[in-house]
Amino acid sequence: MKMIAVFSLKDRLKHIGHLDLMRAMQRALRRSGLPVSYSQGFNPHILLSFAAPLSVGMEGEREVMEVPLSAPVSPEEFIRRINEALPPLVRCLSARQVEDSHPAPMSQLGAAQFDITPRESAEALLAAVPGFLAQESIPAMRKSKKGMVPVDLRPLIYNLRVQGGRLEALLALHPSGTCKPDLMMQALSEFAGLPEPALYDICRTALLTERFAPLEDA
């Protein structure tokens, strides 16, 4: 069996990288004494996968991971024991037990929701949103293994709205197309006529399926 767990990562911990988080989670699992599974080979490591890596600098409100277990554990016990072992700025919020054959959360990903708070030029950015979205296409350059490639962000921005002084963005996160929030903010800054891309704080608030259902329920 395996556990699909939702966790949050806050505050200073936004500065750690994906591999750092992976290590921290594996060590927390080891401290917790939960019946985890190990990989084979000379340097066995705990099997664990995150639905989507969180970029450095980004907080996560409802991140999703999958933890294969070697013995049954109730979701309540899983949550209690892992939270005792985790650093305070990472919290497990919920967990769901599924069969081994259950599809991996990563394979069900379709979109992600972000809260973006500009640190500067907020008014200009927020005012530019309607015009920004009215464009037929939003050309940008995306980094890929083959170098920089052109991409049209417009169809990948499912929703972008102003909420108080913040932006709420619903962006594609899928093998067939992904809009990284920094690319969108760069394009928005440019559209708003800012000389340089605006700085902002960002939190990924939800991971969703292609049908915009919470990923952890898929």
Binding site: L13, H15, R31
Partner: protein
């Protein structure tokens, strides 16, 4: 720090390389409330986070200070150049990881001196931390700046910048020093009176209470206390019983990858082998072991507290630990099921036990590292590395037969009495090692032979039998490196590594520097030198400018043979081993005479003058 600056730090972190270096909040770090009576200690490591967090001493002292109800200890490390520049530009003081408290707000600021080439980082950290660089410029409310660690055994190059050095084992001393400083600060004592009080604590050296004078030729003429009641010699502190000495049961677990990301269990302190180039071997005498029972109990707690997957047994010469096989077996039995591996670094070639090798391989596969130091028996006898060619070949054969194909061999070049014949012998030894691999039947050996031979440049260090020796001058070092490259190129399966010789020359200057060397360090820092230990930041030409500006010659410090009677800047430090014994060892070195391990009989190094030391 005010909220505006705290917010600025947060913004900075999004702009610097590896921000995880600066965030704190790692598992098992301590955030203690600071009351008026709390002694606040900033443990400063003058290198980057990755190096600092790999250092066992930091974890031991961090734990000890935070266990005291009336003390707190927070960590401060050398920021990378991008962060340092941002801090300076935005006028944000260097801060502690735990609570982002400015360095100058602590009661004590303590540096650990592990490496001479980190000394400019100390100036950079003091400067960034808002603390006057020189002890005599510090105001009443500024922290007392202390320093310890192996490089404190020649404290003179830093004497202008450090208020008080703590010489020797610090477990007990650091608590005494911290309590003394805090009590006197609370009582409103003047700085000079605090320093005078520190002097009463064994192992403490207060440089401002001494004066040095020089001969015309630049050598030291005199060194003496400035006032009555100041001792003429400073004796190092020793923790006699390691089972009694404090060792952490829980250590911080970094998020970001560090150099040694594992549990380090100190099984033993000190080494009796008596290698004549080795400063640690002289400084950390006598040999003291932790009991296997104590170590197993510590390992149990540390694994539970950290979730680490590897335990490394640490000491100067782990193969000499009395009950190594029992200890390794005990750790294996206990932890194999939890997939915790055990590794044994710094094994001497002659102490390698085939069985131990096989046991460690049972859990994790790692390479084999040996340090023959010199390629001929003659030169190994000179340096008292009691290892024969047979020992080396037996060790690598065992390793190859046990399934290793990756062997690292460490050497030094420029050792006293070295000739080109000693260097040419590298290739012969390399061929013997690769031959040992090919002697193992193909189906039994692991594929992919890789023999790495690294040659460091010999740096004569204080308080060793070679403290009087000249280092090779730079062109000679370069010639020898080229000779080795040529000799080793045709040997199949061998890779040759060497170090930047300029760095070793400077290390030699600073290691045996006097008070005037402090001015060179200052001048180099003023000209922008910092992070010198990092190749991309090391500016040899700027250091040479700094020497010139101070009217000093690097060759005087590095490449000069000292006479038997010359007063050495660190002669007032009593490190246990006497100057007479060191000279005797030097004479034996020149004669190529070996001194046996003193476990088999006292050689009279001087440690027995200390109460309770080396008594069976």
């Amino acid at each position: 720090m005010d909220t505006q600056k705290l917010a600025a730090i947060d913004r900075l972190l999004s702009r610097v390389e590896k921000p995880a270096r600066y965030i704190g909040g790692e598992m098992n770090t301590q955030v203690k409330p600071r009351g008026k009576d709390t002694a606040a200690f900033a443990f400063c490591f003058p290198d980057t986070y990755e190096v600092a967090m790999s250092h066992l001493g930091l974890k031991i002292l961090y734990d000890i200070l935070n266990r005291q109800p009336d003390m707190l200890c927070e960590r401060v490390m050398m920021p990378w150049h991008d962060m340092a520049d941002h801090l300076r530009r935005e006028d944000i003081p260097l801060f502690s990881l735990e609570t982002r408290t400015a360095l100058h707000e602590f009661d004590l600021v303590g540096f650990t001196l592990q490496y001479e080439m980190s000394f400019t980082n100390i100036l950079e950290m003091l400067s960034l931390g808002g603390i006057a660089l020189r002890g005599d410029e510090r105001g009443q409310d500024e922290p007392i700046v202390i320093a310890g660690g192996p490089c404190a055994f020649n404290p003179e190059p830093l004497s202008a910048f450090i208020d008080c050095f703590v010489i020797g084992d610090a477990e007990t001393a650091i608590v005494e020093v911290t309590r003394c400083v805090k009590q006197l600060r609370l009582a409103g004592a003047a700085r000079v009176d605090i320093l005078y009080a520190l002097l009463q604590i064994e192992g403490c050296y207060v440089p401002s209470l001494y004066e040095a004078s020089y001969h015309e030729d630049g050598t030291l003429q005199g060194f003496a206390p400035l006032r009555e009641g100041v001792p003429a010699t400073v004796r190092k502190r020793i923790e006699m019983d390691l089972d009694e000495a404090s060792f952490p049961e829980s250590i911080p677990v970094p998020y970001t990858e560090i150099v040694h990301d594992r549990i380090s269990l100190e099984i033993m302190r000190g080494c009796t082998r008596g290698c004549r180039f080795c400063q640690a071997g002289m400084l950390y005498r006598p040999v003291r072991e932790r009991s296997p029972e104590k170590l197993l109990a510590l390992a149990e707690k540390l694994v539970a507290a950290t979730g680490y997957e590897e335990i490394s047994l640490s000491s100067l010469s782990s193969g000499d630990y009395g009950q190594l096989a029992e200890l390794v077996r005990g750790l294996m039995d206990r932890f194999a099921k939890d997939r915790v591996s055990v590794s044994l670094p710094s094994m001497r070639v002659d102490s390698l036990v085939k069985q131990t090798l096989e046991e460690t391989r049972a859990v994790k596969k790692s390479g084999l590292t040996l340090a023959p130091e010199a390629a001929t028996q003659r030169l190994r006898d000179v340096i008292n590395k009691g290892v024969t060619e047979q020992d080396i070949l037996r060790s690598v054969s065992d390793a190859f037969q046990s399934g290793w194909s990756n062997v690292k061999l460490y050497f030094m070049i420029g050792l006293p009495t070295e000739t080109d014949e000693d260097l040419e012998a590298f290739a012969d030894l390399a061929r013997l090692v690769t031959g040992a691999y090919f002697a193992v039947p193909r189906e039994q050996r692991a594929p992919g032979l890789r023999v790495t031979m690294s040659a460091a440049t010999f740096v004569p260090k204080p308080l060793t039998p070679f403290q009087w020796a000249a280092q090779d001058a730079l062109p000679e070092i370069k010639r020898k490196q080229a000779l080795l490259r040529t000799a080793l190129r045709p040997v199949k399966g061998v890779q040759f590594n060497w170090h930047e010789p300029e760095l070793s020359v400077l290390e030699a200057c600073v290691a045996r520097g006097d008070r005037r060397m402090g001015e060179v360090i200052y001048a180099a820092w003023q000209r922008g030198c910092r992070l010198d230990g990092w190749r991309e930041h090391f500016k040899f030409d700027v250091w040479l400018e700094a020497f010139a500006a101070c009217g000093l010659d690097p060759d005087f410090y590095a490449a000069r043979e000292r006479g038997e009677r010359e007063l050495l800047p660190w002669d007032f430090i009593d490190a246990g081993v006497t100057r007479q014994y060191l000279w005797l060892e030097r004479e034996r070195a020149m004669a190529g005479t070996v001194t046996p391990d003193c476990r088999d009989g006292c050689e009279g190094c001087g440690l027995r003058r200390f109460d309770g030391v080396c008594v069976p």
